[in-house]
């Protein structure tokens, strides 16, 4: 009988895993059950804010088609929760009372928004009941709440200076809402970004019409709206920021209660090893936001520096792809093949790219060191390891800032604000671990105007004027001296201008130059 795989959770990461397993399912190699708490099959949560400002449609967000999956033979259960996992019987029991047997169980339960401890908000993180006018912008229903506020050009207060908060704020402001971002510290993005980048970023956000309330500590929410809903965010200095909708963007926390309930080891997330297996449980795996890769080996160097779940979807998708391959090898039962699959490579620190129109920002890695910070720069330089090096460019007047933190020429951190092409290059250099050009300014000039645009024919007689026929300026000048006075005559005599015709203006210029010279 084919091996039965059960996936708990049906978000973007689970959808990728299902996609990767489909061929084997169609071939009868595995059976597959997917259990989703929401009524919809997986959709792209990353774009929920776009949906909330009316920039896209729910249909366009779909990542899976439940009906098509059912037709393929997937057992899709939507709108139900898993009540508990019976590890001894290898079975999950659903909220509707039905059980589902598993040979392999995959947790893809994702994360839930952090609800800050504010007076007027229910502090129970497991069962948050948010008052009217407050949303954490996580699912399609939340998006609808935001959409109504934006469509009504209401005042939106975004609590939290993380990248998701900034994206929501920018999009909502551009679509006509009045938006204030409330964040801790002097600039948004906290420790992801350095002071210079954060300052330029703040200014750029203001230029885009977003009000920035920095160094703010919020204490509570006020519900004085006619419907009893949100009316203001209260700050610890006694002031209040009035608004019609409060968007909470204070980060996410892995959903691990179910895993804890069945006795799996957990940290921030469900602890898994480098093959995404739950500790000491060969039948259970975890991927995506709910998984924390930290193996049981206390001597593992990789795990010593490992962080918790990144909250980004990219690593989750890579885990899903890897796990699909692993699960298929397991289902084939060939131990050698299973062991020969290289373990999942360690994730690099996440790259944060601001999703926004008309504004560009990317940060990644550690950007805390400054160019003149000798102590910090040399701190890790032992046993022949090179020291950190910093290259920096600041042009706050024009909203541009770049910082490259490198070791041995390879990026360990990057900040780019207002320099789209530079950001594009730096991010993929960072992702590939590739060495930067020694002349770092090369990376800054990418956003400049096109270098050496064809400014007419060059004065160098050796240089080619007509590329198609390979004719130099000198040859053309000779022909003109020899009596040719029109482009057609030059073409007949030298073949210049007889291909694509793009050099006719240049030939004309050379003819005119000759006759001006003669007249002078």
């Amino acid at each position: 009988m084919s091996e039965q795989i059960v996936i708990v959770g049906f978000g973007p990461v689970a959808a990728r895993l299902v996609d990767e397993l489909l061929p084997a399912l169609r071939a009868g190699q595995v059976g597959l059950t997917v259990i989703g708490q929401e009524a919809e099959a997986a959709y792209n949560r990353v774009l929920v804010a776009d949906l909330g400002v009316g920039r896209t449609t729910p249909e366009a967000l779909a990542l899976a088609d439940a009906a098509a999956l059912v037709a393929d033979g997937v057992d899709v259960r939507l709108g139900v929760k898993v009540r508990r996992v019976d590890r001894a019987r290898q079975s999950v029991i659903l909220s509707d009372g039905t059980p589902a047997h598993y040979d392999r169980l995959v947790f893809a339960t994702g994360s839930r928004p952090v609800i800050p401890n504010l007076t007027g908000l229910n502090p129970d993180p497991a069962a948050p009941v948010l008052p009217p006018g407050v949303t954490a912008l996580r699912d399609l229903r939340d998006a609808e709440v935001l959409r109504q506020a934006v469509a009504g050009r209401k005042r939106v207060v975004v609590l939290g200076g993380g990248v998701l908060g900034l994206e929501t704020a920018l999009a909502a402001a551009e679509e006509g809402a009045t938006v204030t971002v409330v964040h801790n510290g002097p600039h948004p993005l906290g420790r992801n970004i350095d002071r210079g980048g954060g300052t330029v970023l703040s200014a750029s956000l203001r230029n885009c019409g977003v009000r920035m309330a920095g160094n703010a500590r919020s204490t509570g929410v006020e519900h004085n709206a006619p419907d009893g809903g949100f009316s203001a965010l209260l700050l610890d200095d006694g002031s209040a920021i009035d608004g019609d909708l409060l968007v909470l963007s204070c980060g996410v926390r892995p959903r691990i209660e179910l895993a804890e309930g069945c006795g799996l080891s957990t940290g921030t997330g469900i602890l898994v090893d480098h093959r995404l297996r739950a500790h000491h449980e060969p039948h259970i795996f975890a991927i995506g936001d709910c998984a924390e890769v930290r193996c049981p080996d206390p001597a593992c160097i990789e795990c010593r520096t490992a962080r918790g779940p990144s909250g980004l979807v990219g690593p989750g998708w890579r885990q899903a792809e890897w796990l699909a391959e692993y699960l298929l090898l397991l289902s084939e039962g060939a131990a050698e093949d299973v062991d020969s699959l290289p373990q999942l490579p360690q994730e690099k620190p996440g790259v944060v790219v601001l999703k926004a129109r008309g504004m560009n920002m990317a940060v990644a890695g550690d950007n805390s060191a400054d160019p003149w910070d000798e102590e910090v720069l040399t701190a890790g330089a032992v046993n022949g390891r090179p020291r950190l090096q910093i290259a920096q460019w600041a042009d706050p007047e024009h909203g541009r800032y770049v910082k490259m933190t490198t070791r041995g020429g390879v990026l360990e951190g990057l900040v780019s604000v207002g320099m789209p092409r530079t950001a594009g290059e730096l991010v993929q250099l960072f992702e590939r671990g590739a060495e930067l050009p020694t002349d770092r300014s090369l990376l800054l000039r990418l956003d400049g105007p096109d270098q050496l645009a064809s400014a007419g024919a060059s004065n160098n007689p050796e240089s080619t004027v007509c590329r198609c026929a390979g004719v130099s300026g000198g040859k053309i000048a000779e022909a003109v001296t020899g009596g040719c006075s029109t482009v057609a005559e030059v073409s007949a005599s030298t073949r210049a201008g007889t291909g694509c015709g793009g050099c006719h203006e240049d030939i004309k210029g050379l003819i005119e130059k000759h006759f001006q010279g003669a007249a002078a």
Binding site: V46, R55, G424, D439, C468, G470, C500
Partner: protein, 733 residues
Amino acid sequence: MTKSADTHCPYCALQCAMTLKSPAAPAATGLTPAVQPGSGPVPAAPALEVSGRDFPTNRGGLCRKGWTSASLLQHPGRVTEPMFKGPDGVFRPISWDEALGRVTAAVKDARARHGADSVGVFGGGGLTNEKAYQLGKFARLALGTSRIDYNGRFCMSSAAAAGMRAFGLDRGLPFPLEALDTASTILMLGSNVAETMPPFVQHLQGVRDAGGLIVVDPRRSATAKFTSDGGGLHLQPLPGTDLTLLLGLSHVVIHEGLLDADYVQARTTGFDAVVRSVNAYWPERVQSVTGVPADLIRETARRLAAGARRGGSYILTGRGVEQHVDGTDTATAAINLSLLLGLPGSARSGYGTLTGQGNGQGGREHGQKADQLPGYRKITDPAARAHMASVWGVDESLIPGPGLPAVQLLKSLGQPDGVRCLFVHASNIAVASPDANAVIRGLRSLDFLVVCDFFMSETAAEADLVLPVLQWAEEEGTLTNLEGRVLRRRQAIQPPAGARSELWIMARLAEALDAPSTYSDDPETVFEELRLASAGGAADYSGIDYAMLDSGAAAYWPYPAGSTGTPRMFVDGFAHPDGKAVMTPVAPRRRRTSMAHPDPAAKPMTLITGRLLEHYQSGAQTRRVAELLAAQPEARIQIHPAAAAAMGITDGAEVSVANERGEVVCRAELSTAIRPETVFLPFHFPELESANRLTEAATDPISGMPEFKFNKVWVRLAVATPITSLLQTAEAS
């Protein structure tokens, strides 16, 4: 008497119209006296005067290759007699009777000892329609082999497979080239027309003036430079990330509501699956993979959508995005984008692929592909087989089944169950195939290799027998240009006495092999048979004849008898049974590439191969034109100054480019037009400068297209000349 002929250029698929004239007096026979032997690369006086002729595609323009094409007609290096390589490895002329006798014996011997499939045929996209057609027939009926394929597998197979999948039919440009003149937006992906077909550029002037030319190329190519000064946009993705970029463009089209919903609803299937498949490719994520800024991705999508509502939008793909192991999927992603925008089959917009070789279009329609019968029919389709059996007057069981695509065919050379005796036509596989070193080893392991060529190309040099054939100005026939328009090639000059047409060679060999059916050496007779063979097929030529073409008619296939042809395709529907275009969701596949580090001084880089303006394909012809060789005498590796500086490489320095397949040593050309992690090498040169010694013979699972544009190499300054080091190694061992 002075003879003048209106014909078309011998080189690329643009097939520029030209007129050939014999210069005044002495060429009464069409032949000037033979050039002195031993005259080296000194150009022979052209036998003919070449001039551009007004025509909708080239409008009288020619590039340097076209202007100088006649200098090859009486080139001193031309092969003018059958040349047989003796046991001493030296070629000596033999008579045609002896040559044909040797080929016949070799074929019979291979067949008797190893079976019919031990005889293989490798054709080319430069053959006329008549020759391509008869070559397929000759292979299957006279040789009885399934082992025929051609070099178009290295060019057009991915776009062709994607076009078939989406539209049910593949014609490179399903609209006349002039349609581009009035477009508002043109997106060109992986095509450098400014170098590869310069007169084409005239058709981009309108869109450049409108600021709507968008070029996608990792290099700031000559074509990409047209986008400066307000001509448009240049998107410079990392090599190998085109598919991701295209998915990002489709994502923007869907999420920003730029799609043509009515068109998608009425004319396509598969929309929902495509929506899901591109969902994960939002612009910022695509930026992280490709290096192309998110806003530039959005801007491109918006311009395409806006253009479609104004003067028209076109999406054109070239080898840069197609010559990959995921080339079919990449072309499919481009087609999906065009379908979302409602471009194909509309009045003023479209999708097209720019065919490369002279008869790259016709060459892929008439049966020289391993999986295909004439009329673009599938060889596995019982109805197609029955039709061809009746046209050929043979029993259907005599037609073999599908053979092997080019790369697999070449890998089988000399192998136990592989090809032992090979015919090569219009192709220089020793230079132009991926993993060329392995191909050369394969050629050397054959029992018998016969090459039809007019020069002693690198492939011919490996042959047991070289058969001299005609050049373009010496023959009649038809070719089908990149628009699917059928053109007449006309004779202007008498061929050298010892050269023969491939049609003649096939007819004589068929006779000697007692082959079923008939084989003519007259092009028009063959074309008449081709008309019958193609009738009712996808590429239907049945309504076209020589008289019509000679009258100047613009004949675009499909052209069934009684119709007026099809300048613009898919207007009323696509070629699938329900008339709808099929959108197929595609996604980038993970690639595992690992490579030993041969040398600590070398840096890993990505190699792109491609072409120069002055040369054509393997260079077998253009390297023999003195003017072109003088302009581009050797391969030069293009490298960014920043990357070069880090390796101590200066402009003109000798550089070694190597990987596990081979090594190239050539001079460096420093250029900021290339990305710092990428190097570019033209593939026109042989031996130590042969780029294809480095390319991998990995192929696209659907089309069989090899990976030419994304290969890992190690680059370093060449310390010693490799020949010396090779000699030292040889002595030491």
